[in-house]
């Protein structure tokens, strides 16, 4: 009897809930992050390396001679590419921590978390964390002109936060007031405006810049849907164990 009491005291509801969130988020973030890193390596990294040839001046757009659009940028750089894998996994562990925490709150309020609607959670996460800021600050190819990085980061965090609140309102407060507030929150950062450069100085061809933004967003969409599904899967799995 004494033993039972001790165990109960050790695993308080708050500890159990926190452990469940962190455990499922780490599993989801690490596994999804690994897949996402492979997608980025295959589809985004070659475009980035191509752009860097112009950023560093190895290739010059509108220079004396025409430049071939096909450049060899293949090759595995162990330090650089493995660090990218590591940081992708860490980044998506961070996102998973936020997503699973919100799933936990939603579940306490009566929402069902399943593998299928986990993908919708991921889609909402993509809209909040990737698409909403990209509407005014598109994914940047190296070498583009941009405003002060600190100002852009403030704007990025504010935009992601307001878009995330908007997604929550659309999902869980589907009323005229909720939808109205969501629309205002989604539009506001773009009406205020993102910090933009005073002049354009980017040496990279627009074709590469456009392909990079398009690839980064598309891989981001796939990434978030995978992350949402994995978060829901590990969250419900950890719930069964508890």
């Amino acid at each position: 009897m004494l033993h039972t009491t001790c165990v109960t005291q050790l695993a308080s509801p708050a500890t159990k809930m926190f452990a469940r969130i962190v455990t499922s988020a780490l599993f989801a973030g690490a596994t999804a992050g690994l897949l996402i890193a492979l997608l980025q390596y295959a589809f985004v990294q070659p475009v980035l390396l191509h752009a860097e040839l112009y950023e560093t001046g190895n290739l010059v757009h509108f220079g004396a001679a025409p430049i071939s659009a096909i450049q060899d940028v293949s090759g595995f750089d162990p330090m650089r590419d493995l660090l990218s894998v590591l940081f992708t996994m860490l980044t998506y562990c961070g996102y998973a921590m936020i997503l699973v925490a919100l799933m936990g709150v939603a579940e306490e309020r009566g929402a069902d978390i399943t593998l299928r609607n986990g993908m919708i959670w991921g889609l909402m996460g993509f809209i909040a964390a990737h698409l909403a800021p990209a509407f005014s600050l598109p994914p940047e190819v190296p070498g583009v002109a941009a405003a002060d990085v600190l100002l852009r980061q403030y704007w990025w965090f504010a935009t992601v936060a307001t878009a995330a609140i908007a997604m929550w309102l659309i999902a869980f407060h589907f009323t005229m007031v909720g939808l109205g507030a969501a629309i205002v929150l989604l539009l506001l950062p773009h009406i205020i405006g993102a910090p933009q450069p005073a002049e354009f100085t980017g040496p990279v061809p627009t074709e590469i810049g456009a392909l990079f933004a398009s690839r980064a967003l598309s891989v981001g969409l796939a990434a978030w849907v995978i992350l949402g599904a994995f978060c829901a899967y590990f969250w419900t799995k950890e719930g069964e164990v508890a």
Partner: protein, 62 residues
């Protein structure tokens, strides 16, 4: 007696919900902290190591 039991249950539920919210809040702060470190802190070593990921993930990088 029955009323007391019912009240206790409601209180327990409210308390459980509060602890759940607190746990979720701390996990959320931890998540934002991780994103800030991997995606936003401008320290040179971190920036260089995370450079490609920051561009590919759409974070403001330079």
């Amino acid at each position: 007696m029955k009323t007391t039991a019912a009240t206790m249950t409601l209180e327990d539920q409210a308390s459980a919900s509060r602890t759940g919210l607190a746990s979720a809040f701390f996990a959320l702060i931890l998540g934002v902290g991780i994103i800030a470190v991997t995606g936003h802190v401008q320290a040179a070593a971190l920036h260089d190591a995370a450079h490609d990921v920051r561009h590919a993930t759409g974070f403001p990088c330079h």
